[in-house]
Symmetry: C2
Subunit: 188 residues, 2 copies
């Protein structure tokens, strides 16, 4: 509808490729490591699965952005990846690109709220369910913040963001719940 700048800066890095390059730069150099760290850090605003990570690592190696070396620990196969100079440049290219960053939200609770005129008596319960979800997430984020001291600046900032956003969501739900409760009370 509206023409947008293509998210194609740097060297045409696919979304998953960006996470992988960044994660290797932070010292997570195996597919398994990357998956584990993503699950404990960026997962709130960027998820990734094995099905993306392993094929992407091989594609990146084909393009010369990472170099993998087989380092079996014991008898188990294990490939450790490092950034090549080209890979470092691609990462920096992406980080300094001027394109509109992709932003996408998928919130089923909001969708239910949108359609709630088909079943108004459930509105408040749905808001409470959303709030409960975010409250549980907040506990997890607090745990991460407590367990991991001495973080890098980037991860620390995004953790603060995640915490603040989650708190904001909880407040919005609670305020809307009480407002709707009042309205439906005065209507009777």
């Amino acid at each position: 509808m509206t023409p947008r700048g293509d998210n194609d800066a740097g060297l045409g890095l696919s979304p998953s490729a960006r996470v992988i390059l960044g994660m290797i730069a932070l010292g997570n150099n195996t597919g398994y490591d990357i998956k584990r760290v993503v699950d404990h850090s960026t997962r709130l605003f960027w998820a990734a699965s094995y099905g993306q990570i392993y094929p992407e690592l091989r594609r990146l190696e084909d393009r010369g952005l990472v170099a993998g070396s087989s380092q079996p620990s014991g008898g188990r196969a294990r490939t450790v990846y490092e950034l090549t100079p080209m890979g470092e440049e691609a990462l920096r290219g992406w980080l300094s690109a001027q394109d509109d960053p992709q932003f996408e939200l998928r919130d089923e609770g909001m969708l239910k709220l949108f359609f709630s005129d088909s079943l108004p008596e459930r509105r408040i319960e749905n808001l409470a369910l959303m709030r409960a979800l975010h409250e549980r997430k907040l506990v997890q984020l607090d745990e991460i913040a407590r367990s991991a001291k001495e973080m890098h600046d980037g991860p620390r900032l995004t953790l603060q963001f995640g915490t603040a956003l989650t708190q904001w969501m909880i407040n919005w739900c609670r305020e809307t719940e009480t407002r709707l409760a009042k309205e439906s009370a005065t209507e009777e």
Copy 2:
């Protein structure tokens, strides 16, 4: 990883099926209509494409949740869908389900922030880019709010949510920008 409740309430409605049932209940009864309304309303927290809508409409018809009738306007093919009683029940079933609602965020700007230790001098510019994006979105939301008076309660609530969230994002970016600017100034 963590066991979650399956999002499977009602009758195993797929995510796109839910939007479609809800949209038909609101009186948008052709594929084209649904796409257009989604693009102007739920798109902020739930997008949908033709590639989901048209096949899903046929699947829903096969399952007896919607009934389509061919109503060509002029010589152009056109199928108008209505909810069947079963479809209405499926919609209400989903709206009253107690499962954890799906929540997912994909924010490339945050991802860049997370990896920004690889290129710290771009941190503030990236925040400004994120802010600019949200500021443009806010203008669009305000236009929608102004042009569409007399909304249903559900859509009005989600529009308020979208506006408030976008404003919160803008503020977070701005505050973080100024905080980082101060920090880097005192470091010198």
